[in-house]
Each structure stands twice: as structure tokens, then as C-alpha cells.
């Protein structure tokens, strides 16, 4: 196990390097320059390029990135206030924590609500409960976050005044409610759909018949025998989603005025702010890679037939 994890970490570092190279090349493949505006003259652009080292050959720039990242230095923003470091932009004022907190709570909600809903639907297959849940989950997967967030705002904040319109830094429980629901609803519905499908598959397996023949209670059939066998697809889905839910919070964060990380993922690309693009991409990739490792270890816990040898890497 330890050997496996170490192997995976080494591979992860190489993956990250590759991602940096690709991101760097893609950034530079886009025509134009970060300093190009209506007013800027060629001299101004040249000066700015020289100042931030953008006049050097590409391989030197890339090498500098890698060297600085290895030292933990994410660089300086090209567009924000003079000399603002990228780490301040992304991690300052608890932005990163805020996004992570929102993401983790939403994901937990998706798991805690979605999996039981899937079980209920599968167990009551073809009955009205199943029909209701099917409609609900389909709607949940289809409705865009901004629509849901808007509806919640109008309903609970504007009309009923139950919840605050601005969640700011999520100071209390009330401020969490709407952002978390908006962010997690899609994932809850998707998890419920996935659980239902794989649960139905598991219910028809021979070992469920064996358990029934033993006289196992129906509740235990579902919760013990079928559920654990149907978790693999759900776990597979949840890993990458964890990373996505943090970046995907852009809409939710702007709707509820939460000063989180989400908007920088979008802004940096629009601004052509190379160091910020690089940092956000690397952070997101690292999260995805880390979650995949967690998923692989979770597989092993759920299904004893899976062995972690690290050979297939």
C-alpha cells in the first residue's frame, strides 16, 4: 500500500510537469499578448514583456516556471496591482478555504442525500416513488446552476426573507443554505441516478438471490449486500467531481457574492494573466490527481478483489 502510494505520487509529479508544459504551450499559442489594449503602443508592450520576462525564448520561460514551482513560488500576476503574487490572489483572505469548504459540504450533501435516494428509487422500482425521483433527478441534472440559484434567491431571500441574499464569507449556517443547495443539487441528482442504476444491476445478481434464500431481511439485502457492490461507479464519479465542484462554484460564488476562488479560474483566462492561468490549472490538476488516488484507495476498501499493485501505472 505505502509503496503503491509513493509510486503514485512520483507519477503524479510527472503528470503535473506534463500538464504545465501543455498549459504553457497552449497559453502561448493564443495570439495576442496580455498587455495588448486599445491604448498600448508596441513600445509599451515590449517594455512590459521585458519586465516580466516574456521576451525570453519559450523554453527558458517554461524552465523558469518549473524552477519557481519547485520552490513553491507561483509567480507574480501580470494584470493585478503591481507585484501582487499569485499565491496572494488565490490563497489570500481565505479564498481557497472558502471554496474548499463550500465544495466539500456540497459534495458531502450530494453523497449523503444522493446515495439513499438512489437506493430508495431502486428498491421501489416502477412505483410512484421511483417515478417521482426519476423526474426530480432528471430535472436536477438538466437545470443549470444559475437558474436554480436565481430561483432560490427570488423565493427564499427576496420574497420570504428567510435567508440572506449575500453570503459573503459564509459567516453562519443561514448563509450556507442556498449556495450549498445550488452547488450540490446537480451532483445529488446525478449520484442518485448512478446509484439507482448500479443498484438495480446489483439487485439482479446471483448473490442477492442467495442472500434472500438465506432469509436475510429486505432492508439488509439493500443496505448490506447490494449497496456496497453498487458503490464503485459512484466513487469513480465522485473523484473528479470533487475538483470540478470547486472550480464549478464560479456561478454560485458570483450569484451569492462569495469571495471564493471560482472567479479567478475564469478571470485569469480572459485577462491572459499567464502566471494565474498556470497556477489555477496546476492546482486543479493536482486536485484531480489527488482525488483519483483517493478513489483508487476507496475502491480497495469497498471491493476486496481489487489489489493495488501499482503495476498498471
Amino acid at each position: 500500500m505505502a509503496v503503491y502510494v509513493i509510486k503514485r505520487i512520483v507519477v503524479s509529479i510527472m503528470t503535473l510537469l506534463l500538464i504545465m508544459c501543455i498549459t504553457f504551450l497552449l497559453m502561448n499559442a493564443i495570439p495576442g499578448s496580455p498587455f495588448l489594449t486599445e491604448k498600448s503602443t508596441p513600445e509599451m508592450i515590449e517594455r512590459a514583456n521585458a519586465k516580466y520576462g516574456l521576451d525570453k525564448p519559450l523554453y527558458v520561460q517554461l524552465f523558469n516556471y518549473v524552477k519557481n514551482y519547485a520552490r513553491g513560488d507561483l509567480g507574480t500576476s501580470l494584470k493585478m496591482q503591481e507585484g501582487t503574487s499569485v499565491s496572494t490572489i488565490l490563497f489570500g483572505q481565505g479564498k481557497f478555504e472558502l471554496s474548499i469548504k463550500l465544495g466539500v459540504i456540497s459534495l458531502l450533501l450530494a453523497v449523503v442525500v444522493g446515495i439513499p435516494l438512489g437506493c430508495i428509487a431502486a428498491y421501489n422500482r416502477g412505483k410512484w416513488v421511483d417515478g417521482f425521483l426519476r423526474v426530480m433527478t432528471t430535472v436536477g441534472v438538466a437545470v443549470p446552476t444559475f437558474v436554480l440559484a436565481g430561483l432560490l434567491l427570488i423565493g427564499f431571500a427576496v420574497n420570504l426573507h428567510w435567508l440572506p441574499t449575500k453570503s459573503n464569507s459564509l459567516p453562519d449556517f443561514k448563509s450556507y443554505v442556498m449556495p450549498v443547495i445550488s452547488l450540490s443539487f446537480y451532483y445529488t441528482c446525478y449520484v442518485a441516478k448512478l446509484t439507482r442504476t448500479s443498484m438495480l444491476d446489483a439487485i439482479n445478481q446471483d448473490y442477492i438471490r442467495t442472500a434472500r434464500a438465506k432469509g436475510v431481511k429486505t432492508r439488509m439485502l439493500i443496505l448490506k449486500h447490494a449497496l456496497r457492490n453498487s458503490l464503485i461507479p459512484v466513487i469513480t464519479y465522485l473523484g473528479p467531481v470533487m475538483a470540478g465542484i470547486i472550480t464549478g462554484s464560479f456561478v454560485v460564488e458570483s450569484t451569492f457574492s462569495i469571495p471564493g476562488l471560482g472567479k479567478y479560474f475564469v478571470q485569469s483566462v480572459l485577462n491572459r494573466d499567464y502566471p494565474v492561468i498556470m497556477a489555477t490549472t496546476v492546482i486543479l490538476s493536482a486536485l484531480v490527481i489527488f482525488m483519483n488516488l483517493v478513489v483508487d484507495i476507496a475502491y480497495k476498501i469497498v471491493d476486496p478483489r481489487i489489489t493495488l499493485t501499482g503495476k498498471e501505472d
Binding site: 434464500a213 438465506k214 476486496p304 478483489r305
Partner: protein
Amino acid sequence: MEKDNKNLLEIKDLKVSFFTPAGEVKAVNGISYSLGYNEVMGIVGESGSGKSVEAYSVIGLLQSPGKVVGGSITFEGENVLDFTEEQMRQFRGNKVSMIFQNPMTCLNPVYTIGNQLIEALMCHDKGYTREAARKRAIEMLELVGINNAEKRIDQYPHEFSGGMRQRAMIAMALICEPKLLIADEPTTALDVTIQAQILELMKDLQHKANTSIIFITHNLGVVAEICDRVSVMYAGHIVEQGDVNDVFYDPQHPYTRGLLSSTPRMDEVTRERLVPIEGTPIDLLNPPTGCNFGPRCKHCMKICLREKPPLVEVGERHYSACWLHFKKEDEQEEAET
């Protein structure tokens, strides 16, 4: 047949249908038999003859769209079909248990063998503590011939071979000391040497535990090996029933004869060809009005195509459903074959 109190299981005129979009499929169409204590009954027949469906209805494992539409199943004087869901659950695994065809898929892959054995014991409130149940599970594994049971009990099904898994399945089925064990083709998925071992084991355990067995198979050799009595099923009906020796040495129904002559024999050195039964099984959606076997039968008469033959006694505890028993002398009525 015999009186109720002598029999463990009494099935009367059982009818099971599957309600499919294409129509009602009468998978089991009025079968009756009784099973005594310590008796091993073989049920043979080809695929789709209703032998498994019949057994599933005894243990209440019929899944929708299958449904018992008539008849009764009496187990120790109680009608199983009247049980509530909870009574049925207590009945399953406790009084009647079942082993299945494919041991590779019948054990839950994510729980240890021990966990599954103990569960079988614990879900019928027999007053076992966890430790006592574990001890009992180890005993059972030893009983079915699994070496090093102390260690094996904590292993997962994928660490067991096919034969070992079937042994574990048998241990699991017998852990609550059921009065009846239904074995649904338990050796079909195993290779021949393992088959013989499992049969030996089942015979041995049957004597030790005084369990009655319903043994479902299409392998006549297996029936001869283990069963006391045998029912031959064809298209949802029992066509012949009797003691194994009577049925095998003196088959009365043309279908039984056909089955026997299409089975290779080890005790004869002749180089005779095997004789297949011509034709294909009937479509259960549109069963014929007459004898179900009529369209394939070499001795088919006019009456065979008009009316279903009743099950008549042709010897001591030997029954057969064929018009030939009524019309043996009436040769001129025989239609072209």
C-alpha cells in the same frame, strides 16, 4: 398418495405462470408430489421444463413476473403460500434452504465467507452470540471438508476455488439445520471430479443431518447417484415419477425412455449410437391441447393430440402420465407417427 403427517412437503396441483407482455407462460402447470423426511427427490427435465420454477415457488423466491396461480404447498402441515412476508423470511434459510448452480456468482464478492455464513445464522433469531456463531461457522466449514477453516473463514469468495465455493454454499445452506435442502443443479458448473466430490459430500451430509433434498438436475447420472425418488418433468408437467430404480430400469413414459436412450451408459460396452429425442420443446405460450409431448412422441395417438393424459399409477409408487397405459391393446387407433 401418503398421509400428510408422514410427509415433510406436499405439493398439490401447483401452477406457476409468468405474465409476460406476450401472454401468460404456464411454466408449471399442475404438478403434485410429496416428499418424505430424509428423502432425496430428483427432478429431471430439459431446460424450460419448469423444474427450477417449481423449486423457487417452494422457497418463495419467485420473482415478478412469475406468480403462483393455483395449488398448494404444504410444509409440515402449514401452507407455505399463506405465509406473510416475515413468516416466509423466517422460513427461508431456517426450515428450507437452497444452493444454486453457479457458485462463482452466488457468494457476495465483497464480504468474507465467514461474514456470510454467520449472517445466515444470525438472521434467524436462534440465540447465538457473535462468537458462538463464528465457532459454528468454522464447524460447518470443517464439516463440508474445507481445510484450515479457522483461516479460511476470513477469506473472500475470490480466494476460493469453484468447488470450495460450492462447499461453502452447502455449509451456509445447512448452518441452520434446515429440514429441506433444495439443490438447483449444484454440480452443473463444476468440473467432473469436483462434481463427484460434491455429490459424495451431499450424500454424506444428508445421512448425518437427516435433511430431505430436492435435487434439480438434467443429469440422469447424478440422479441415479444420489436420489431415492425421481420426477421427470416436461413442459410444466410431471410425466413420470417413482423410485429411481423403477424409473430407470422400467421407464413407462416415452419421454423418460427417450431421455434414457439419449444418455451414454458406462456399464455397457456396446457401440450403439445415442438416440436423440426428435423435435423441439413446445412453445409454452401456446401449449397444445393434448399431451405436451405428443408432437415429439413416436407413439402419438389421436387421443394424445386431443386430451392431456392423467398421471396414473403403473407400479408401486410409480406414476406415469401417458395414454399408452390406457390404450395399449388398442393398436388400430394409433395415428401415423
